[in-house]
Amino acid sequence: MKNKLIASLPAIILGALTAIAPQTFAHACAGHDVPGACHYSALAASGVGVVIALLGVAALFVGTRERIGLNIAVVINALLVLAIPTVLIGVCQGAMMHCRMVMLPTLMVLGALAIVFAAIALVMDAKSTNAAATRVR
C-alpha cells in the first residue's frame, strides 16, 4: 500500500499542477496578437500534465510490475515537461516576461520533482519485486 501511494500520489498531484499552472498562476504572456512560443508551450505542458496525472491514477489500480512501467512513463513525460519550454517549443526571450520569469521555472520545478518522485517509486517497486522473486525461489 505504501509503495502504491508513493508511486501514484506525487504523480497525480504534480501532474495536476503541471496541467493547471500554465493556465492559471504560471500563465503564458498576455496580449498576443499572434500566439507566441510561450502560448504553445503552456498548452503542450498542460496536456502532458494531464497524462502524468492519469498515469498516477492508473498506478493506484495495478500491480507492482505494471507500476514500474507506469513510473517509467511518468519519468519520460516529466522529461517532456522540461523539454517543452526549453528545447522543443520555448518561451519568450525577454528575461522579465511573465512566461520566462514564472511559467518556465514553475514547469522546471514540477518536472524535476515528478522525475525524483517517480525514480524513488521505481527503486522501491523494483526492490519489492526482487524481494518477491527471491522468496519464490
Binding site: C29, H32, C92, A95, V109, A112
Partner: protein, 403 residues
C-alpha cells in the same frame, strides 16, 4: 536476514523506525532549507546593493520639474520612462560652483510592440564626458560605441543576428553587458548622436518619443560629481541660484543607496531573527525526540552492552544516527530551497523591488557546504543530552532499568 555490521547499525536503526525518522527528517529539512534559503537571499541582496553602489557613481542628478520620482524609479527598479528638458540645461548647470565633473544623459522608454517585445529603457550618454556608465561599459567593451550601435543590458533580448528591434528598426548590438541586478539590466545604451535617429524612427511608427524639434537637444538629466569641500545639497542650491530655475528636480543617488541599504538591513535582520527562532525551536524538538527515544531504547542499549559494546560505542551510535539524519535532511533541505531560489531568482528580485544579484558559483557551493555542516551539527547538538546520559558512569544501572 542480511548481516548488520556496527558501521551500518545507525542506518539500520533509522530504517527500522520509518515514522520517527521521517518526522525528524522533516524538521532537519525545514531547518536547512530555511538556513540555506535565508542566507542565499541575504547574500544575493548584498551583492545587488554592491552592484548598485558601483553603478550609481554620481553625487547629484538634475532632472526636470516633478520628475524626481521617475528618475529614482529608473535607478532602483525596472520602471522605464521618458522625460527631458526643453532648454540648454547643461550650460545653465555648468555656471554653478562646486561641480567637479558633469555629463548629460537622455532617457527614452521604448514601445511594447507585442507580447514578446519588452519595454526597455534607452539611455543616451556622452562617452567623452560620462563618468557613470562609461567606466563600467569600458570594463566589458573597450571599443568606441559608434552612432547607430547599441550596448544591451543583460536582460535584453538580442536576436541571433546580433540586433535589437526598437521602434520597428533593427539596431546592431555592439556588446551585451553582464548582469548587475539593477534596472540597468533592462536598458540599452546609445551615444547621444543616436538619440535623434531613435526619435526619427519613433515618429515613423506614429509614437514620437520626443517632439522632433527637441530631438537634437533633448537632455533628461545632468549627472554631477561634486568638487571636494562641497555637499550635493550645497551644489543643488548653487545650481538653482546660478540657473535661475526654481523648479528643477534633484535626485541624490547616495541617498537612494542609503535608503536601499536601510531597507536591506531591515529585511536581512528579519530573516536572521526568523532563522534563529526557527532553529531554536527545531533543536528543542529534536532534543525532546532524541531524549524520549533514548529512554524507550534502554533494552536495545542494554542488549548491545551485553554483546560487548562500550559506552563509547553507544554514544557513537547515537551521534552517528543524528549526524546521518542531519546529512540526509540537509541534502533534501538544500535541494528544496535551491528549487525555489535559483529558478525563480528573477521573480524574487522583481517582487522585492530591491537590487538582487545572484552570487557566483563558488560562493553558492560554499554556502551549500556550510548548510550541510549546519544541518549535521544541528542533528549532533540535538543528540548531546542522550549521549551524555549514556556516557555517565552509572549508565550500566540506567540500562538495567530497562531490562
Amino acid at each position: 536476514m542480511p548481516h548488520i555490521t556496527l558501521g551500518r547499525l545507525p542506518f539500520e536503526n533509522l530504517k527500522r523506525k520509518p515514522f520517527r525518522t521521517a518526522a525528524l527528517l522533516v524538521i532537519v529539512t525545514m531547518l536547512s532549507a530555511t538556513f540555506f534559503g535565508g542566507a542565499m537571499l541575504a547574500l544575493n541582496l548584498n551583492a545587488g546593493l554592491d552592484s548598485m553602489q558601483k553603478r550609481l557613481g554620481a553625487d547629484l542628478m538634475v532632472v526636470p520639474q516633478n520628475t524626481g520620482a521617475k528618475a529614482e524609479a529608473l535607478l532602483t527598479s525596472s520602471t522605464s520612462s521618458t522625460f527631458y528638458f526643453t532648454n540648454d540645461i547643461a550650460s545653465l548647470v555648468s555656471k554653478a560652483d562646486g561641480i567637479a565633473q558633469s555629463t548629460v544623459q537622455t532617457y527614452i522608454s521604448s514601445l511594447t510592440a507585442d507580447c514578446c517585445d519588452e519595454q526597455v529603457q534607452i539611455i543616451g550618454f556622452n562617452p567623452a564626458t560620462d563618468f557613470v556608465i562609461e567606466p563600467w561599459i569600458t570594463s566589458e567593451y573597450d571599443q568606441t560605441l559608434e552612432t547607430g550601435q547599441v550596448i544591451a543590458g543583460a536582460n535584453i533580448n538580442v536576436s541571433t543576428s546580433g540586433t535589437i528591434k526598437l521602434y520597428d528598426h533593427e539596431f546592431p548590438v555592439a556588446a551585451q553587458l553582464a548582469t548587475t541586478g539593477t534596472s540597468l539590466d533592462n536598458s540599452v545604451f546609445v551615444n547621444q548622436e543616436t538619440i535623434p535617429r531613435i526619435v526619427g524612427y519613433s515618429a515613423q511608427v506614429g509614437h514620437p518619443a520626443i517632439p522632433e524639434e527637441y530631438a537634437d537637444t533633448a537632455v533628461s538629466a545632468v549627472l554631477i560629481k561634486v568638487a571636494d569641500g562641497y555637499s550635493a545639497e550645497q551644489v543643488a542650491d548653487n545650481i538653482t541660484e546660478a540657473s535661475g530655475l526654481d523648479g528643477l528636480g534633484y535626485v541624490y543617488p547616495g541617498g537612494i543607496t542609503a535608503t536601499t541599504k536601510t531597507n536591506l538591513s531591515a529585511i536581512v535582520g528579519y530573516v536572521a531573527l526568523f532563522l534563529a527562532a526557527f532553529w531554536v525551536m527545531g533543536v528543542v524538538v529534536l532534543l525532546a525526540v532524541f531524549s524520549s527515544s533514548t529512554n524507550e531504547r534502554k533494552r536495545e542499549f542494554a542488549s548491545l552492552r551485553i554483546m560487548g559494546a562500550t559506552r563509547g560505542t553507544l554514544v557513537g551510535l547515537i551521534v552517528k544516527e543524528s549526524a546521518l539524519l542531519g546529512l540526509i535532511g540537509g541534502v533534501i533541505g538544500i535541494a528544496l530551497a535551491s528549487l525555489v531560489i535559483f529558478p525563480f531568482s528573477t521573480l524574487i528580485g522583481r517582487q522585492l523591488q530591491l537590487p538582487y544579484l545572484q552570487v557566483g558559483v563558488p560562493t553558492t557551493l560554499g554556502l551549500m557546504a556550510a548548510g550541510l555542516v549546519f544541518a549535521v551539527l544541528t542533528g549532533m547538538i540535538a543528540s548531546v543530552a542522550s549521549a551524555y546520559r549514556l556516557s555517565k558512569p552509572e549508565t550500566y544501572l540506567m540500562l538495567r532499568e530497562g531490562e
